[in-house]
Amino acid sequence: MEYEAVIGLETHVQLKTQSKMWCGCANTFGSPPNTNVCPVCLGMPGVLPVANEEALRLTVLTGLLLNCEIPARAKFDRKNYFYPDVAKNYQITQYDQPSTRGGHVDFEFQGGMARVRITRAHLEEDVGKNNHFDRNSGVDFNRAGVPLLEIVSEPDLTSADMAYEYLNALKDILVYGGISDCDMEKGMVRCDVNVSVRPKGGTGLGAKIEIKNMNSFSGVRRALTYEIPRQIEVLQGGGTLIQSTRRWDDAGGITEEMRTKEHAHDYRYFPEPDLMPFEPTPEWLAAVKSRMVELPLARKQRFMKTYELPAGDAEVFKNDVPLGHYFETAAQGAANPKAVANWVINNLRARLAETQAREIAEQESLGLERSDMTFTGLSDLKFPPQALRDLVGLVENQTLSSSAAQQVFVEMFETGKAPADIVQEKGLAQVSDTGALEALCDEAIAANPGPAADYRSGKLAALNRIKGHVMKLSQGKANPGLVGEILERKLRA
């Protein structure tokens, strides 16, 4: 029998705020343990939470970007469970009235489009971090109370690869919206996976197995790549699967069953009495809506359509938003946007990367930390985006040869001078004066008797040798098309 997988994901994402969810402690990563803590996030006796407005805005913004409904009323609840990293031994979350519900994410998958429905994206608080030692564990509460968005998908995913692509699409949206930096290294994104298998084409659901706590998308893919065949193998061997929780062992590359709890979870959710419900007003919602951005996929499709770019170029601009923005400015009024895209991707981006690498090396030698370094970015360029469009225009109208254009670009990058001025100053304009070119062609034919004889005997490729010589004689300024025509005429004569 053939089996198929049914996968749903719960993705936890730290929100990009200045302060924590309920208190004024900084929402930062990497501080010494228990230094971003206060009576509130340590769960001291007598303290009370107050909701961070920006976290609520980012939650609703996420909902809008994920095509969710924004309910008229949302509230917070307490989820009760004892764990050393949970300061109050309950987590404040949104249980039956979340801030967003019922959306979807569209993304490219295996050459087509796929859609995963979003059950809800609700706001809650992160917990502290447990450090494990030989004989005991130690808790750092710096992370406790950081606003956390839990994005729950419907079980619409059918493979490890699909889960991976969904997560990447989701991450792109969250980064685009300024909702989270989604920095995996800093643990800003964590996933729980629910996976079951069933006979292909079936509608029922198999025993749901939860895989907890993966902190990279590739981890999710690898875990599923391991887990799905494992489940199928159990069933094919006549075994049965029961609902359970497994842990992904990243180093070992396997999932393993977690020690079963003596008691099933009973979270005893109830409305958080310390926090009031949330009923977004039209004005408040309008302010959040004004922060909506174009979704990554829509952006890619628009680049392909409006500028007639190939998918590869559009993908580059989807992934590098500032570069895409730069391109759009430069391409304004350009006759050939594709040529502008080539310059932005191949020349500008490469030159910037080179410059930055040099700057990093310099600052490293001064002993600076990466976080304290400064380097040239798109906004620091000495020339405006329009100058790049002008440069492309000069190539297009044959004023500049492409090799001369490279020279102009380097000069622009260093000095910020306008391309036309550089061409003028350096006399780089392409030579199309037939008289001058005829003389150069004669000289080149005389200097290459061998290739000239080859051409005449029918080896047409030999023309390039002679053509190259002409270009060299003209210091790259000769119009290559014209040179070809003249040479052909002379050699056939």
Partner: protein
């Protein structure tokens, strides 16, 4: 210990309270009596009645997203029964 209403051992475990057998006996009996008394609520018709979670209706209580100074590590750990290396130590957590 299971009474007419609840299994005290079970619920006490859920609440992370370890009871002595004597406590289980006494508490079990008292809680049963209290829950008997609470049965009276079941006789009341509450259909169509909205629950009250807060006695004074307020909505949209929020604070601006501004960072403020935290406690020092020393202050944070001052009351800790087992502080070490800036952490709150506990017996080894096994998942």
């Amino acid at each position: 210990m299971a009474g007419a209403h609840m299994d005290v051992t079970d619920v006490a475990h859920l609440a992370r309270i370890r009871l002595t057998p004597a406590e289980e006996q006494t508490l079990g009996r008292q809680l049963d009596q209290i829950l008997d008394y609470m049965e009276q609520l079941k006789g009341l018709d509450v259909s169509g009645v909205e629950p009250t979670a807060h006695p004074f209706p307020l909505v949209n209580v929020m604070r601006p997203d501004e960072a403020r100074p935290s406690l020092s590590q020393d202050e944070a750990l001052r009351n800790a029964p087992a502080p070490a290396n800036g952490l709150f130590m506990v017996p080894k957590i096994v998942e």
